[in-house]
Amino acid sequence: ASPSAVSEPESLKSLVEAGKLPPMAERLPKTPRVIALTGPETAPGRYGGTIRRLISGPREIRYMPIDSYSRLIGYDRSFNLVPDILAAFEVQDERVFTFHLREGHRWSDGNPLTPEDFRYVWEDMFHDKKLYKGGIPNLFRIRDKEPRFEVIDALTVRYSWEDPNPDFLAELASPVATRLMMPSAYLKQFHRKYQSKERLEQLAKENGVEDWVALHQKMSRTVRPENPELPTLDAWMPRTSPPAQQFVFERNPFYHRVDENGLQLPYIDRVVLNVGSGDLVPAKTGTGESDLQTTNLDFADYTFLKSAEKRYPIKVDLWKRTQGSRVALIPNLNCKDLIWRQALWDVRVRRALSIAVNRDEINKAVFFGLAQPSANAVLPESPLFREQYRQAWAGFDPDEANRLLDEAGLARESRYGMRHLSDGRPCNIIIETTGEAGFESDVLELISDHWRRIGIRVFVHVSHRELFRRRIVNGETVMAVWWGLDNGVPTADMSPRELAPTADDQLQWPLWGLHHLSGGGDGRPAELPEAQKLLDLYHEWRRAAALAEREGVWHEMLSLFTDQVFTIGLVNGTLQPIVHSKRLRNVPEKGLYGFDPTSYLGVYMPDTFWYEGEA
C-alpha cells in the first residue's frame, strides 16, 4: 500500500490537520526501514495506546533508549548486523567504514539528519578541548591513531583507520552506543563556536549550570533522556524533565521505521514510566499496573505473577537470561593478601573450589531446577557453544576437590577439620556480596555448606555496590559474588574482551585489566601466563580479518578460560519473567534477556508491539 493511503496515527491527526506537522509521507525518509511482521509469532498491528511501565528510580529512564534500540547499525534477532538508521554501510578490511544515510530522514523536531550532524560531533564536540578534555573517545583510537573522518556527499560519511578496528560496528550496535551524530541544529545554540558568550552565560544561568560546557553536556545527554527538547531518532521521545515521579514518552512523528502495511512505527503512542520502590514492582505488576515489565522482576516472583494472571489481564513469559553465569564466584587474583593470592593463583585450588560446589542443589533449591548448572561460559544459543565449556570443572566431586587441595598444600588435620593456609591461618574465605539479589544469600548459604565439606569456612560480607567494587580493586577481598560473562550469546564477530584481562571492572583481575586499559600506565601486567595468553589471543582476534579465524580464537580463549576456572560459574540460562498486557501483541513468548547483545527488549523491537482490541 502506498504511504499516502495509510491513515495517520490518531494522536497526530489533529496536528497534521492544523498544519503543525507535515503528513506522514513527508515525515518518513524516502526509503523507510520496513519491518516485516509476518512471522509465526508476529503480525502487523495498528496505532494507539499507552504502555505503562514501572521503574524503581528516575535513573531507570535510561532503559528507554536501550529498549528503543534505534542505532546506525543494529543486531537483528539472530545477531546479524543490519543497517537501521543507515540505509546501508560498507566495510573495507575492517578499516574503512562508509555509512549511507536515508534520504529525508529527520530528527524528531523535523530537522533533517545530515552529515553535518556527524561532523558536528566529530569536530565540534570530540575535538573541542573544553568539551572533551582528554581528547576523542578511546574507541576511536587504534594504536593511538585517530581515524580520518570524511563527508563524502549529502548522504554519506566515512571513517577510515590505518589498522583494523573490528570492534567498531559492534560498538555502534551496542545497547549504549557512542553517538556519532547529534542534532547539530539544536545543539549549536549551546556551543561556544556558534553562540555568543553573553547568550551562553545567560542560558547557563537559566539552566542552573556553571558554564557552557556543563550546559552543552546537560542539553546533549542521550544516555538518560532527560532533556525533552533534545531531538532524537528513537521511537519515543521524552516529554518530561526531571525531577518527576512519572516520565512520559510520546511517539516520534519522524521515526524511520514502517511496518509492511506502511504504518509508521511505533504503533504505541505513549510510554509512561512510573517511579516507585523497586520492591513494589512485582506487586504492582501483579495487579496489572504495568503493561510491559522486564526490570525489577526476579525469577522468584514468577509464581506470584503467574497466579495473578487469573485476576488481571496480564501474561507472564519466561525468557532466558544471556549472562554466562547468573551467579558466579569470582576469586580475586589481585588480592592483597599474599598467601591467599598464591593459593588462588594455583589452578588446582580454583578447580577444587569449583567442583566442590553442588550446582544441582543450587539449581534445584534456588531456581526450581530450571536453570543450567554450568561453568561461566557461553550459552547453547551462541554459535560458539560447546558442551565441553559448560562442563569444565562444573561437576560435583568433593573427593577430587579434597585431593586437589591437599595437593595444593592447603593442609587439613583430619577428615572433618578445617584447612589451613600455608602460613597456618585457617582457610576462612570472606565472600563479598552486594546483597542486592535476594537469591545470592541463599546461594551463599548453600556454598558455605558445600565448602565446609572441603574444609573451608565461608564468611559473607555485604557492602554497597560502590564499596564492593572499590574493595575488590583495592585487593581487600578474596572472593566476590557477581555474575559471569555479560554476553553469554556471542558470535565470533563479537569481541571476546570479557575473557581476557582487558578492563578494570573485571572482578577476577581488576589490576591486570587496568594495565591493559591504561595502555600499561596503571595496574599490573597479567602475571599468570594463562591470563597473558588470553590477552594475546584477544589481540589476535582483533587482528583477524576472516570469520573462521575469529571463531578459532574464540574457541581457544573459551577453552582456556573455562579450563583455568578464572571465575567459578554456577548456573546459567536462568529465566527472567517478562510480564506484558494480554492485549499487547508481538511480544515474543520466548526470548533472550540481557544487556548485551540483545539490548534487553531492543532486538525484539518494542516499536512493533501493539494493542489488540479496543484501547
Binding site: 505503562r52 528510580g57 528516575p58 535513573r59 535510561r62 532503559y63 536501550i66 572533551y132 578534555k133 582528554g134 573517545p137 545497547p175 549504549v176 542552573g208 549550570v209 556553571e210 560546557v213 556543563a214 553536556q217 546537560k218 544516555v223 532527560e226 518530561t240 526531571p242 525531577p243 518527576a244 515521579q245 512519572q246 512520559v248 509512561v272 512510573n274 517511579v275 516507585g276 520502590s277 520492591d279 513494589l280 506487586a283 504492582k284 495487579t287 499496573e289 554497597h464 555496590r465 560502590e466 564499596l467 567494587r469 572499590r470 555479560d486 571492572d505 544487556f595 548485551d596
Partner: protein, 332 residues
C-alpha cells in the same frame, strides 16, 4: 523569658555549626563519592561510563579538593541561600525538593494529628479505666501495631487494599495523576490513598503514645489536687483534662523537638516501601547515591527544625509548669 529566648537563639548558631560539621562528616564517611556510585549504577546495567566526563565533573564540584574546603564552600553557600546542587537530578537542591515537601507535610500532619486525636482519648480512657476490657483490648491492638514491622504491615495492607478495594499499590495517588498539577480529582485520589500510609505510620506511634499517656496520667490521678478539684464539684472529665492531664503532658512536650523535623522527613522506610512521593525516599536515595549536597542540605534543614523544635519545647515546658526554671542550677 525574653532574655532566655534570645540567649538560646544565640546558642543555636554554634550548635548548628557543630551539627553541620557532623552532617558533613557523616555524608563524607562512606568511601567514594557520587560519581563513583554513578559509574556503578551504569555498570549495573552494563553501560560503560565516560570516565572523562566524570573526572571533569569531579573537578568542577571540587571533589579533588580537601574535605574542609568543600565543607567551607558548602556552608558559606548556605549563608546566601545556595543549598548546593544535586548531581543526580542535575538541578539546584531547592528545585529538587520542591513539591515533595508539601505532600510530606500533608501525610505527616494528618498522621500526627490522627495519632494525637486517637491516642489521647484512648490513653485517658485506659488510665481512668485501668484493667477494664477496653483497656486490655486497646492495649492489645496497639501493641500488635508496634510489634508488626511497618514494612510487613505496609505490604499486607497494600495487598489487601488492592484485592478488596482495588486501590493501586503504593504511591499517594493513582498513577495517572503523577506529575499532574493539583486538581479536584487528584486530591480525591490522594485522599483515597492517604489512609494506608497514615495507618501504617500511625499505628506504632499511636500505641506508644497511648501507653505513655496512660502511664503518666496514672501517676497524677491520685494527687491531692485532683481531690481538691473534685471537691469543687468539677465534672470528672474536666478535672482530668485540666489538672492531671496537663501535669502528665510533660513527657509529650519534651518531645516536640523531634516532631517538627519528622513532619518534614516523614517515615522514611515506610515511605520507601509504599513508594510515597515524599521526601523520605528522596533522602535515602540521595544518601545511597552520595548525592551529597542534596542529602546534606536536606539534613541541615531537618537540623534547623530540630533545634527550633527543642527551643519551642523548652519554652512550652516552662509555660506548662511554672515551677520549671530553665536557666537555674540545682538550688534556687
Amino acid at each position: 523569658m525574653l532574655r532566655y529566648i534570645l540567649w538560646r537563639i544565640a546558642v543555636m548558631i554554634p550548635t548548628l555549626i557543630m551539627i553541620s560539621m557532623l552532617i558533613f562528616t557523616i555524608i563524607e564517611l562512606p568511601p567514594g563519592d557520587y560519581f563513583e556510585s554513578y559509574v556503578e549504577e551504569m555498570r549495573a546495567i552494563g553501560e560503560k561510563a565516560d570516565m572523562q566526563e566524570i573526572d571533569e565533573l569531579r573537578a568542577r564540584y571540587g571533589f579533588d579538593k580537601p574535605a574542609p574546603l568543600r565543607y567551607f564552600n558548602w556552608i558559606t553557600g548556605f549563608a546566601h541561600g545556595d543549598f548546593g546542587y544535586s548531581f543526580e537530578y542535575r538541578l539546584p537542591v531547592a528545585a529538587v525538593v520542591g513539591d515533595r515537601v508539601w505532600l510530606t507535610i500533608l501525610v505527616s500532619t494528618v498522621t500526627i494529628a490522627l495519632t494525637w486525636l486517637i491516642a489521647f482519648p484512648i490513653g485517658i480512657y485506659s488510665a481512668t479505666h485501668q484493667y477494664s476490657w477496653g483497656d486490655y483490648g486497646l492495649t492489645l491492638l496497639g501493641l500488635i501495631g508496634i510489634a508488626v514491622p511497618n514494612f510487613i504491615l505496609a505490604l499486607v495492607m497494600m495487598y489487601f487494599a488492592n484485592i478488596w478495594f482495588g486501590i493501586s499499590i503504593g504511591h499517594l495517588m493513582d498513577p495517572e495523576f503523577l506529575g499532574k498539577p493539583m486538581s479536584w480529582a487528584k486530591m480525591q485520589s490522594i485522599l483515597e490513598h492517604l489512609w494506608i500510609p497514615v495507618i501504617i505510620i500511625g499505628t506504632a506511634g499511636t500505641a506508644g503514645m497511648v501507653r505513655r499517656v496512660r502511664a503518666n496520667l496514672l501517676d497524677e490521678l491520685n494527687k491531692q489536687y485532683v481531690m481538691t478539684a473534685r471537691a469543687k464539684g468539677l465534672h470528672p472529665f474536666k478535672v482530668l483534662i485540666k489538672y492531671p492531664l496537663r501535669l502528665s503532658l510533660n513527657f509529650f512536650i519534651s518531645d516536640i523537638g523531634s516532631i517538627l523535623p519528622s513532619i518534614i522527613s516523614g517515615a522514611e522506610i515506610t515511605a520507601v516501601v509504599l513508594s510515597l512521593e515524599t521526601t523520605g525516599p528522596m533522602l535515602i536515595r540521595a544518601l545511597q547515591n552520595q548525592d551529597m549536597y542534596l542529602a546534606g542540605s536536606f539534613l541541615m534543614f531537618l537540623a534547623v527544625l530540630t533545634v527550633v523544635g527543642v527551643l519551642v519545647s523548652d519554652i512550652a515546658l516552662a509555660l506548662l509548669d511554672p515551677r520549671i526554671r530553665l536557666q537555674g542550677g540545682r538550688s534556687k
